[in-house]
Each structure stands twice: as C-alpha cells, then as structure tokens.
C-alpha cells in the first residue's frame, strides 16, 4: 500500500536528526510533528515521549530519520541514521534525506519484519503546522457522542487535524530551553504572545465576577413578587421590549459565567454573543447621540400628536365613506349607521385620551430615548411597542368587526343546515339529519334571510379593518425581523472567516508540486475554508424569534371565517 508522510513545511530547513510524530497504521500514514536534533540520549528521548503521550493522549513515537546535508552526501551520517533504526524500533522506519538546497528529497523505508520486499510508493505531503493546529474542521466530529468504533473509523483528515491540535504541549518547548532535547517545529524560534491579550485575559476574571454579581441582583429584582401581579405580568408578556431585555440578560449570563468553554462551538458562541452585544450597544449609542443632537426628540414629540390626529381624521373619513355608498355598494342603512356611529365614538374617545397625554409626551419620549443606550435592538423593540400602542384603536376595531362577522358566519352556517333539514351533532362531531317542527323551520328561515341580507355590510366593515390591522402587523413584523437579524448574526465568525480563514475549515485541498522521476510524489496540503453561507448557518445564535405559525391556507381560512389571527408566534408561548 502507498505510504503517506505528512511533513511540516517549517522543518524543511532543520538540521539532521530523528523524526517524531504519530503513526496511523489503518491509513498507512505518518504525521510528523517535530525533528529531534543531535546530540541526544535515546533513553531521555523515550522518557520525554512517554511523558508527552501521557499528557496529550496522542500516540507520539520516533518514526524515522531526517538527513539534511548541506554539502555532499555524507555516507557515515546516513549509516549512523540507519543504525538508529535499531534503537528506536518502529515499523516502518522512514528515512528522508535532502541534499543541499534541492527541492526533491529522497525518501525510503526500512521494513525489518515484513517478508515481501515490495517497493512501496511514498507520497510526501507538506502541511503548514501552525494553520492546521489552529484550524477546526467542519462538520465537527462530536467525540462525546460517537462510539469508539466510529472514532477509529474517522476520516484521515480529522485524525491528522486532531493529532496536530492535541500536541500543543509539544510545541511549547523552543530552542532556547535548556532541556536535554532540542526540537524543531513551527514554534521552535520562541513562543510569541501579545501583551494586550494577556492583560485582557487577566482583567477578564474580576470583570466577569462583577458582571455575575450585578446580573444576579437584576434577575433577583425581576423575579420579585411585586412584578408578578396579574395586570403587570400581562403587560410584561405583551411588550416585546421586555422579551428582548430578558433575552439580552440571558446572553450576558452566558458571557459572564466563569466556566471555561468546553469546545470550539461553545467558544465561538460566547465570542459571537460578545461581539453582537458590543455592536448592538455601539449602534444604540450612535442612535442616541443622533437623536439627542439638535433637539430631535423635541421635534419627534411635536410631530407625534399631529400624526395621531391625522390618523384619527383619516379613520373618520373612512367611516363616513363606509356609512354612505362605498364603492357603489348599497349598504343596509340602519346597521350601517349603528356600526359607523359606534366606531366614530370610539375614535372620539381615543383622540381625547391622546390629547390628555400630550403635555407629558416630550418628557416620556426623552426618558424612553435614553434606553437606546442598552442597544439598537431595544430601541427598535420600543419603536414596535409605540406603534402597537398608537394603533390600539385599529386593533380594537378589528376585534369588534371580526367578532361580529364571526358570529354572523356561524349563525348563517347553522341556519343553512336547518334550511336543508340537518343539524350539527356535538356528541358525534358530525352533521346529522333532523326533523324540525314547522314553527322552528319558519323562524329559522326568517332569521337566515335577515342575516344573509345583513352580511354585505358586516363583511365590508370586517374587510376594511382587517386590512388596516394586517398593515400594522406587517410593519411590526418588519421591525422584529430587523431585531432578529441583529440578534442572531454571528459577526465574530464572519470576521474570522474574512481575516483568518484557515481557522474555519470545510476540508483540505491538495496542490501537486514539481515532480522528479524516481523521487516520491510531492503534494502541498492547504486548508479549504468554509463558505460564508455555511458559516452563518453553523454559528447562528438562537433567538426567541417570531415566525408565522399558520401556513397561508390556514391563515386564509381563519380570515374567511372571522377567527382572530395572531400571526406571530413567540417561542415558548402557550398555544391558545
């Protein structure tokens, strides 16, 4: 079978020595992690390797010899390296030698135990050690869930990535250490670190503790009995601002927990939440500074009352139109007048209420605008709630119209059954035939006729108010969509994919390098980064998102029958 040797490109210019790494016998491949230089004592090397095996749980052993002769081929050195094969017994013993600055190395194996001396083909694959160590392969193999059998059967790529990633301890010793072993790997020139990162790591511990303490205070205050009384709890559940604030509180709790992230997914989630909160608050403060400059809040408050008045006037005009002969249809005069006057009075009450509030509007808006510093999402939720409050009368009209229409439809369907001599059997939940008395039939037919001829009027009112209500629902839906976008977008992952694309790997790609006859096949293994779509899909933050709970057909059916529609369902809400 073909022997594959994964050689780190940083060791190409290393001095002669022996190769250490992991041998994966199922795939006949050797992953070389570092080169140990002369002089060394074999006993100490074996000790070091067993210590390393214990710490990293990776089966590291001596795999072969590396001969980098700068001038001519040194015969004595190559014989010495062959003899080393007897000290460190490993099947097969890999010998790689490089002459001068030549790109083409010669690679051979020594098989002592095998009987058939077949010339194995050798493939030399170069890989960038640092990038493979830092990268994370997607889809991630969940080692906790998979059985041992599956883990053995794992793809060779994840085995290689795993080997390099788990050997971080090996890469901590550099050439300035005074140990018995001299290694060459990607970090052998010295570990690099950034002072700012280290300082931030130290500062984050007390900051997290402070944040946890504050959050426990806040959540304790929120859970107090005072806020759970019936009118208040109903109000909190209806306002989307409270939901958004609770959601963000939960996020803060995730970040400030002092448990270290177990695996890559958790780490990315924490980072995404942190960046999302940061961007949210930054945008919110930007919005706030824009609002409070040049007294825009005052202008907003000044225009709010006239806008509400204007809406009310438009509604009054609409009702006057309905009370006349709307679109040429002939309405039932009496019912029309009753409904029209009822709604007009309702609007009059609403306008008086708004005018009552008008002196306080500016102050309320000013304080409410301050809450935009909690984040852009909170500001958008407040906007959505204000829209809901200002259009409350439209909601009321819709409910009145829908109930009336619904009653009418049910009455009509029941009397239609009576017309045909049938009845709805509640026990059996089906339509049964029934014999009615003459006077029952007479009254039923009369009522049926009345309801039928009053249907167009009610239906028209219902249609108009349903359309208005749907308009408001669509506006609120769009705002919530925007809030969801800001909430769930994994910005940290996207920026990571942009700047350090090797950290999110979908797979690898091979490039065939220059070949020479008689030398092993040379390949370069590079990391194939994940596409942006998969990044967003994998690392999306879960939200309490609103999504339409009805399909289009059931929505139309509900509209036709006059049932009240609540098109947006929140996760965790009880089904009515």
């Amino acid at each position: 079978m073909v022997l594959k040797v994964f050689f780190p490109s940083c060791c190409s210019s290393a001095e002669s020595g022996i190769l250490i790494g992991r041998w994966i016998s199922e795939q006949n491949s050797a992953v070389i992690l570092a080169v140990v230089h002369f002089p060394f004592i074999p006993v100490q090397v074996k000790q070091y390797l067993s210590e390393l095996q214990r710490v990293t749980k990776v089966n590291v052993s001596v795999l072969g010899s590396w001969n980098n002769s700068k001038q001519e081929k040194e015969e004595s050195l190559s014989e010495f390296l062959e003899d080393l094969g007897t000290i460190f017994s490993h099947e097969p013993w890999i010998q790689i030698s490089k002459e001068g600055d030549s790109k083409f190395w010669s690679c051979s194996t020594l098989q002592k135990r095998s009987n058939n001396h077949r010339e194995e083909e050798i493939i030399l694959v170069y890989y960038d050690q640092r990038k493979v160590m830092l990268s994370c392969l997607h889809p991630p193999l969940d080692t906790a869930a998979s059985t041992a059998q599956e883990a053995e059967d794992a793809s060779r790529l994840s085995a290689i990535f795993d080997t390099v990633a788990k050997s971080k301890v090996l890469f901590m010793t550099d050439k300035y250490d005074d140990g018995p072993i001299k290694l060459t790997h990607w970090q052998s020139d010295g570990v690099e670190a950034s002072i700012i990162v280290e300082l931030m790591k130290q500062a984050s511990v007390p900051a997290c503790m402070l944040l946890t303490f504050l959050l426990s205070l806040i959540s304790g205050a929120c859970k107090s009995r005072m806020l759970k009384f019936w009118p208040l709890s109903f109000l909190w559940s209806k306002l989307s601002t409270c939901e958004q604030l609770a959601h963000r509180l939960q996020h803060l709790q995730v970040i400030s927990s002092n448990k270290k992230a177990q695996n890559q997914t958790q780490l990315m989630r924490k980072a995404n939440i942190f960046v999302s909160l940061l961007i949210d608050v930054a945008l919110g403060i930007l919005l706030m500074s824009w609002l409070y400059r040049k007294n825009r809040i005052g202008h907003l408050a000044d225009t709010l009352i006239p806008v509400a008045d204007h809406v009310a006037e438009e509604l009054q005009d609409l009702l006057q139109w309905l009370m006349g002969a709307p679109a040429g249809l002939k309405m039932n005069r009496a019912l029309d007048q009753v409904l029209g006057r009822f709604f007009l009075y309702h609007i009059h009450l609403w306008i008086s209420y708004i005018h009552l509030m008008s002196p306080f509007i500016e102050m309320i808006l000013w304080y409410v605008g301050l809450s935009a510093c909690l984040g852009l999402t909170v500001a958008l939720c407040i906007l959505s709630d204000i829209v809901a409050l200002l259009t409350f009368h439209i909601y009321c009209f819709y409910v009145y119209g829908a109930r009336l229409y619904c009653l009418k439809i049910y009455g009509l369907s029941s009397l239609w059954r009576l017309f045909r001599g049938k009845k709805w059997n509640v026990l059996r939940q089906r339509v049964d035939s029934c014999s009615y008395d003459l006077d029952q039939l007479f009254i039923g037919t009369l009522l049926f006729t009345i309801l039928l001829f009053l249907l167009p009027t009610t239906a028209l009112y219902y249609l108009v108010f349903t359309l208005l209500r749907l308009l408001v629902v669509i506006v609120q839906g769009l705002i919530h969509l925007l809030v969801d976008l800001v909430d769930s977008l994994p910005l940290y992952s996207i920026i990571l994919r942009l700047c350090r694309s090797y950290r999110l790997a979908a797979g690898v790609k091979f490039r065939v390098l220059e070949q020479q006859d008689g030398k092993p096949l040379r390949l370069l293994m590079q990391i194939n980064p994940l596409s942006y779509g998969s990044v967003v899909q994998t690392y999306r933050l879960p939200t309490y998102s609103c999504y339409p709970k009805d399909s289009w057909t059931s929505l139309c059916k509900k509209l036709f029958l006059g049932e009240l529609i609540y098109p947006w369902k929140h996760k965790g809400e009880k089904q009515d």
Partner: protein, 205 residues
Amino acid sequence: MEAGSCGPPPGCPPGVEERPFRSASGEPLALRRRQHSASCRELALRRPRLQLRSLSAVTSAVWLAAYGVFVLSENSMVLSAAIFITLIGLIIYLHFVKIDQESLLVIGSLGIQLTSSYASGKESTTFIEMSRVKDVVINEAIYMQKVIYYLCILLKDPQDPQGVSEVVPLFQSSQPRLDCLMEVYKSCQEILDQRKEAPQSSGIK
C-alpha cells in the same frame, strides 16, 4: 470517436497529453491528461474563453438601450446607471458564472479533488477522501428531449455498506460528450483498481 492529436500541441509542457472534444451543446473542449506518478493523475477540461465580440455586443446593446431611455427621459442618471450596471454585471459574470476549466485530480489512497476555475481566477475546490468513494460511474439522464451522459462519483453510506449515500456529478458546466467521458472514466478506474489490489487494512467493510 474524435481523431485526437497524438503528441502534445504547442504551448503544452512535455508529459502532458491534450485532445480536443466537444461538449453536449457543441462547443469545443480540450481534455488535458497528466500523470504525476503511478497513483496520481490529473484530468483537466478547458472551455473556450470569453469572446471579445460577444462581450462588445452585449455592452453595446445595453448602452444603446440606455441612450434611448436617456433621449426619452432627459435624465443623465440613466447613462451612469447603465455604465455601473454593465461593470458590476461583468464582474459578477466573471467571478461567479464563467467557468474556464474544470479539473479532476485523482490521488490513489488519498482521494479525489474537483476544482473549478472561474474566469476571474477564483478556484473552488472540493476534496473527497478515498474512504468515502464507492465508485466512479457514467450515468445517463433524460432531460426534456435529450439523453445526456454524465460522470459521477458514488459515495459510501456509513450505515449501509452496500448502499450509496450521495451522488456527486462531475464536469457539470462543461458537459462533455460520451467519448470524452469514457477517456476520463478509464483513467479514473485505472487508479481506483489499484486500491482493490492492495491488501485492505483493518477497517469496517
């Protein structure tokens, strides 16, 4: 079968064979076959490049239409919008749509790599490990009034050893005809046969 040239045509490095073929829609393709080693082979299908005359034709048509709208509406924004749209459209076409070369790199005992190179230089690569590959076959599909042949890689199903979990079609944008597909098929099978000859290591069969 097309009569192919035997030696390498000019502009081709030694050790590389290049033969002309045709795609299903009639455009000329060039299949380049290169043997890197006993178990490594690269097959590349080159498509004709973007022609200057089709590019100028489309650009002139768009600009004439924009000029016509400008004459009617007297709004100079139409002209700048047309230039902008043409530029953006060209960039999008070159970077996302126009595939210049599709290649298949078969490395015995490592895997199969598919690369599509776009006109703007972008390369999109997929690597399938050999342990996941069940076989490479030529399938036929009935599309409207045509029967088209396509080469595809069958992937193993982890649960069912005899089953096929996924079919990966190759050369989707070049769509070569059957003669070209047979050449590619023969090359691939020579390498895939090698893995059956080698003694199987322990593993799930």
